[in-house]
């Protein structure tokens, strides 16, 4: 068993990065995720593993540093909160276009604009539908506990390298600021130059030997036919990710008439709502998407034939509900799909969710 500690979600993100053998972190401070870089700076991993931790002059600079580092086949990452991620959007699109593996963490706060520093999930669309320009997808993981914040750092890097695609951990200020018991992974060594050549040698810029062709990293392609072929290949890759990497958790869905769908902090709230609803004799379950892209369409389609309705519980104005509706529509089911959420930094309470459920489905 690994070392057990009481840690904030943000601190764990930094610690897990060191322990999974990350090569470089480039970031710019913003509430409510500043503890990520603070933890890294305090731990000074450059002494221990050789990991680089750098405070850039802006979010735009950080994401481009990640772009550069990822191009060498190294494990590079950044973290920010909502407004900072918006600033990074261009760079993220470039990275997706150049097919580089890296990790971007968004500890969301309420928006739009500078908004608030309190937790929110209003960057769902931004994370799963693009955010930057062009037809691209990020692999998006949504942890719901501090333990998952720890586990998903390593997982995100694994997936990113497996598919040569940027991965994102989409979390929020509540999970970032919350402390929970966490079992840390053991320290993994950083990849050696030889290992990097073995893993990513066919595309990474690791120094060209005479034995192979030049590896070029770019998202630019002036020939539209080639660009279209590249896009088709991307879409194939995203389909493969959908097929192979969809992750979710079902809680008491077996006999459920109505199903709450929620991720991250709202999923934690909904777990309690299920308890309250069950105590009232209401047959309610919870579907917790763990990957937001790929979204668990298949399981929703399956559930749509058994359940009478879905309630999308969000800390946003009705974003994930669109994906639920699409899956229910594709299933050809008549299940009703409703929304309940809070915005602007407010977290719904378990009781509010149960009230919404009763109002919308039980007609009380």
């Amino acid at each position: 068993m690994g070392e057990i500690r009481l840690m904030k979600g943000n601190e764990v993100l930094g610690e897990a990065a060191i322990r999974c053998g990350c090569d470089g972190y480039f970031g710019y401070p913003i509430t409510p995720q500043s503890e990520v870089m603070e933890t890294l700076m305090q731990r000074a991993p450059w002494n221990e593993t050789g990991m680089v931790v750098l405070q850039a002059e802006s979010e735009v600079a950080s994401i481009n540093m990640v772009y550069g580092a990822a191009g060498t086949g190294k494990k590079a990452m950044t973290s920010s909160s909502s407004p900072g991620i918006s600033l990074m959007a261009e760079g993220i699109s470039y990275i997706a276009g150049a097919e580089l593996p890296c990790l971007i963490i968004n500890v969301q706060r309420g928006g739009p604009g500078l908004g608030t520093i309190q937790p929110s999930q209003a960057d769902y669309f931004q994370a799963v539908k693009g955010g930057g320009h062009g037809d691209y997808k990020l692999i998006v993981l949504a942890p719901a506990s501090v333990q998952e914040m720890n586990d998903f750092v390593d997982l995100a890097f694994n997936l990113a390298f497996k598919y040569r695609n940027p991965a994102m951990i989409l979390t929020d200020g509540a999970l970032g600021q919350m402390m929970e018991k966490v079992e840390l992974a053991d320290q993994k060594p950083r990849w050696t130059d030889e290992e990097i050549k073995k893993i990513s040698g066919d595309w990474a810029t690791t120094g060209k030997p005479t034995s192979r062709k030049k590896n070029v990293i770019t998202s630019l392609e002036m020939d539209s036919n080639v660009m279209e072929a590249k896009n088709r290949r991307f879409q194939e890759k995203y389909k493969l990710i959908e097929k192979q990497e969809t992750r979710y958790e079902l809680i008491q869905c077996d006999d459920a008439e109505y199903i709450l769908v929620a991720f991250g902090t709202s999923a934690r709230v909904c777990q309690k709502s299920v308890e309250i609803a069950r105590a009232k004799g209401l047959k309610v379950g919870l579907l917790r998407p763990i990957t937001l892209f790929p979204f668990p369409n298949a399981v929703i389609k399956e559930l749509a034939h058994k359940a009478k309705g879905f309630l999308s519980v969000e800390m946003s104005a009705g974003q994930m509900i669109e994906d639920i509706k699409l899956a229910v529509y594709e299933a050809g089911s008549n299940a009703r799909v409703n929304y309940f959420g809070r915005m602007g930094g407010i977290i719904p309470t378990p009781g509010e969710v149960v009230d919404a459920l009763e109002n919308k489905f039980y007609g009380s």
């Binding site: 057990i4 009481l6 509430t31 409510p32 520093i117 309190q118 200020g173 509540a174 600021q177 919350m178 402390m179 929970e180 018991k181 902090t265 934690r268 709230v269 909904c270 777990q271 309690k272 709502s273 308890e275 977290i347 719904p348 309470t349 378990p350 009781g351």
Partner: protein, 238 residues
């Protein structure tokens, strides 16, 4: 067992650190823990509060509407959280910061003279640990060994020399006399020592009814179901 509690007071009163010690002690007891603070501008000089959840099973919502226990250290927090205690739950408060005492008659209220006792001890800073000690007496969910380990884990090494002082304060808190207002007392019913034992023994049943004659009284000592081994350990702290 699941204990959902709120600790609330001014920033700087040690609200967050009391929660942290509690959470770390919970981990030592092999429990699941969640520590969820208020963060942002309100931390700066204003009120600070932290929700702490200890449980034997996976913890669901960090957002709690009704608390099993509230530890209240200032008036603003009393105004905000008195109504948020579950019927039959526990409210501990330090009268130093609270001008209007709580009035609910369906919860168990304990007045803990934390600040006063800390000044008597010659170290006003440890008043939060005195209140913490009283809490541990009222809700004996953590053993001394684990509280000690919790202190060790949550205090930076350079403060480890202060652990004995903190333990002494916790012990003082455990011994404090208090003022218990229960539904029964507010109704004017008498409360004998045996019944008081039951009122604070939550695992059995908090909501007991009293049959004897009405009286509002101050109680010199709390008697609760005690683990003799545990009590002996506590008694050894100087």
């Amino acid at each position: 067992m699941t204990e959902e509690m709120i600790i609330a007071g001014f920033g700087g009163q040690g609200v967050l650190s009391m929660g942290k010690i509690l959470a770390y002690s919970g981990i030592m007891e092999d429990k699941e823990v969640t520590w969820f603070p208020s963060y942002g501008p309100e931390m700066r000089g204003g009120t600070a509060n932290v929700t702490v959840i200890l449980s034997d099973s996976r913890i669901s919502s960090p957002i709690v509407q009704e608390f099993d226990t509230a530890i209240i250290l200032n008036q603003q927090s009393m105004d905000k959280f008195e109504s948020a205690v579950k019927p039959g739950g526990i409210l501990l408060y330090d009268p130093n910061g609270v001008l209007t005492p709580p009035t609910r008659n369906d919860i168990n209220i304990f007045k803990v003279e934390g600040t006063k006792t800390a000044i008597e001890m010659g170290n006003p800073k440890v008043f939060n640990m005195i209140v913490f000690g009283s809490y541990l007496k009222v809700r004996p969910i953590l053993s001394l060994d684990n509280v000690e380990k919790g202190l060790e884990k949550s205090l930076p090494k350079r403060y480890h020399k202060l652990i004995p002082l903190n333990l002494e304060a916790i012990k003082k808190g455990r011994k404090l006399s208090g003022f218990a207002l229960t539904k029964a007392i507010m109704n004017g019913e008498d409360l004998d020592q045996d019944q008081l034992i039951s009122t604070v023994d939550r695992e059995k049943n908090l909501n007991i009814s009293y049959k004897s004659k009405p009286k509002l009284q101050e109680i010199d000592k709390f008697y609760i179901t005690e683990d003799p081994i545990e009590e002996e350990k506590w008694s050894k702290i100087p």
